[in-house]
């Protein structure tokens, strides 16, 4: 199996460190972005297999990144990290390829399981993850 590439976008560096570490240790190639613009540019140029993005970011939000990717015809599954208790409309999420939402503070172990599920089967069994 070829190595899968995951782009992680978050403006908080500690989240980037933790998520990258966890994913790299699990054998993924990890790219990081600190705002919406960088996330969009990197996704377009590197075509990762999965996007993990924070909702609130400078430049533009995680949902906008997903929107613009769809507009550019790029279909990449995305996992959205959100503040606890914040939920998007299901219509909004499925429309932009957001396969699941994980609320912060999240369990890195749970995130890794979700990532593996999404990459293997294209879906997250936990769905919108409140019980992260």
């Amino acid at each position: 199996m070829s190595q899968k590439t995951i782009l992680v976008a978050d403006d908080e560096s500690h989240i980037l460190s933790v998520v990258s570490l966890k994913l790299r240790n699990a054998g993924f190639r990890v790219l990081t972005a600190v705002d919406g613009q960088e996330a969009l540019d990197l996704t377009l140029s590197e075509r990762p297999d999965l996007l993990i993005t924070d909702y609130h970011m400078p430049a533009f939000s995680g949902i906008e990144v997903c929107q613009r990717l769809r507009q550019a015809g790029v279909k990449i599954p995305a996992i959205m990290l959100t503040a606890r208790g914040y939920n998007l409309e299901p219509a909004e999420t499925s429309q932009y390829g957001i396969v699941c939402m994980i609320s912060k503070p999240f369990s890195p172990r749970h995130l890794l399981t979700t990532v593996q599920e999404v990459l293997e089967r294209g879906v997250a069994s936990t769905g919108t993850s409140e019980a992260a």
Binding site: V18, L21, P105, F106
Partner: protein
């Protein structure tokens, strides 16, 4: 093995030994004429070829295989030297020793090498190459390709090299540090998320069994233990039996013994008890057949130990202080839940007790209606459950059923107990009891939701009831349900004006009045239960209340 210049020239380089930091630095300085040489205590030299990406040497020294010695920050300690010592032990070659290589691997010294203008592959050089096991062909190649340096240029380049290498080592060290910090951060996230989840599950109306089951499973996943268990003191109010979740199973008597032993141990220590070798511990050696390690922390509030939370057998390694800290945080959260759940139970018990007393007082005004409120509550709850509504709504309907006639406190006993037909005035007084009941209850904030049930339990589906003459679905569901239960109980018990009717007759009456007096949909639900089942329900209830009465009487007798 002896080495002659002839076999040296034919010698194939061994595979490169990559040393990422040195390789990067060497690659940058290669163009300036510098290359790296590693010298070993036995005189062997390993030369660095940045184009091939690493060191080559005849004898692969195990120490050099370990990237730690080259990557260690101790490789270059202190500030860049003001002056680098330059040797000329090979004619035409400038050698600059890199300072302070790792002392634990002292046999290796690293040199920067460059040729000066006088370099030539003379007999002397060849002899030296042989002595040092250095490939002379390669050396000649290098001497042709590389620019030559004079001593002051070598001095400058060497110092620069040392500075660059030291910075790279520092960056490498920082990266390693970042990695370890991230590792710790990930563990902290894991714990934070666990604590968040446990607090989220601390709803006081959740049963302790359910709460601890979820909590234990969550902790188990994060901590990586084969079993997580909970035990409460048996002398305290016991809300749950000792339980153990995970892949370890213990017989009930073992579980109980473990619970007692662990609670005693944490209570004595007033803190965590950790044992990674149960077989060697006299307190727990009896458990050795099932588990090898245990970590237990007290469940305590206000210095009072209520029980303990424990973990058995770490999946990898041993339990440590980080595990103890995590389990302790969870235990502290759980203890708060436990205390709240106990208080909630106490308050609820008190409230229910008071409500039962109140209804007994109401029923006592009329000997014929003895136990009526309790039965209406029971029947209303039965119908509510059949409807499949939520547990909390069922509970509310039960309470509303219990208190539906509380307003009769305000109706004269002469009216309540009258055997003959009521006059119009008397009937008007009687018809006031739902409103009086609602008024009595209106100031009790906690039971506001049941007032519609009390106020509207005499409304009729066709709109001919009282007090508001509501019809159909306008009558609150509670009122419609209690109305059914109330009429059914009135028909099936002795009254001042007639004897009890058989349950079958009462059910037929409910069928007859469905759509006029009763909500037809609810009547249908009510009729789903057979006459025999109703008899059973009421008999069970009677026996239960008799037992309570017996206990009460025996207490009074004492």
């Amino acid at each position: 093995m002896s080495l002659s210049p002839s076999n040296l020239t034919s010698m194939q380089p061994t595979p490169a030994i990559a040393t990422p930091l040195l390789d990067a630095a060497a690659a940058r300085f290669g163009a300036a004429g510098l290359f790296l040489v590693a010298a070993f205590a036995d005189g062997t030299l390993a030369y660095h070829d940045s184009s091939a990406g690493g060191f080559f040497l005849k004898y692969v020294v195990p120490a050099l295989r370990q990237p730690t010695i080259i990557g260690a920050a101790s490789l270059l300690g202190g500030a860049a030297p003001a002056l680098v010592e330059i040797r000329r032990s090979i004619p035409g070659v400038l050698l600059a020793a890199l300072p302070s290589i790792d002392k634990r691997h002292a046999p290796i010294r690293l040199y920067l090498a460059a040729r000066d203008e006088s370099f030539a592959l003379t007999e002397d050089v060849l002899r030296l190459c042989g002595k040092l096991s250095l490939d002379s062909a390669w050396l000649l190649q290098q001497s042709r390709d590389l620019p030559s340096l004079n001593e002051s240029a070598m001095q400058r380049q060497s110092r620069l090299f040392i500075t660059v290498l030291r910075d790279q080592l520092r960056i490498g060290g920082l990266e390693a540090e970042l990695c370890s910090v991230s590792e710790q951060l990930a563990a902290t996230y894991e714990e934070l998320s666990l604590i968040y989840q446990v607090s989220g599950g601390m709803k006081i109306n959740r049963s302790p069994v359910e709460f601890f089951k979820q909590t234990c499973m969550d902790v188990r996943a994060v901590m990586g233990a084969r079993g997580i268990g909970v035990a409460l003191r048996s002398d305290a109010q016991r809300q749950l039996e000792p339980a153990l979740y995970g892949s370890i199973t213990l017989a009930p008597d073992q579980l109980a013994r473990l619970a007692d032993d662990l609670i005693r141990a944490v209570a004595e220590r007033r803190g965590p008890v950790l044992c990674n070798a149960l077989a060697a511990d006299r307190r727990f050696d009896w458990l050795a057949a099932s588990a090898g390690q245990v970590l237990a922390v007290p469940l305590q509030r206000h210095e009072q130990v209520m029980g303990c939370l424990y973990a058995l057998d770490k999946e990898e390694g041993e339990f440590d202080s980080a595990d103890a800290k995590l389990l302790n945080s969870i235990a502290n959260e759980s203890a708060i839940y436990l205390e709240n759940a106990r208080m909630f139970e106490d308050v609820r018990g008190l409230m229910m007790g008071l409500m039962h007393s109140l209804t007994s007082a109401v029923d006592a005004k009329d000997a014929y209606t003895c136990g009526h409120s309790e039965r209406v509550a029971l029947l209303s709850r039965h119908v509510a459950k059949e409807l499949g509504i939520s547990d909390s709504e069922v509970e509310q309907i039960y309470i509303a059923g219990l208190l539906h006639d509380v307003g009769k406190i305000g109706v004269p006993e002469s009216v309540l107990q009258k055997t003959g037909k009521l006059t119009n005035e008397e009937f008007d007084l009687m018809k006031k009891h739902p409103e009086i009941g609602a008024k009595i209850l209106q100031d009790v904030r906690q039971i506001q939701q049941i007032i519609p049930g009390v106020l509207h339990h005499h409304e009729r589906y066709d709109g001919n009831g009282y007090p508001a003459r509501l019809a159909g679905e306008d009558i609150p569901l509670m009122g419609r349900i209690i109305c059914l239960a109330d009429c059914f109980d009135a028909m099936t018990t002795n009254r001042t004006y007639r004897r009890a009717l058989p349950i079958e007759v009462a059910l037929a009456e409910i069928r007859r009045c469905a759509g006029t007096q009763f909500d037809p949909r609810l009547a249908e639900v009510f009729l789903r239960t057979s006459a025999d089942r109703y008899r059973e329900l009421l008999r069970d209830h009677q026996q239960q209340s008799k037992r309570i009465l017996d206990v009460r009487e025996s207490l009074i007798a004492k």
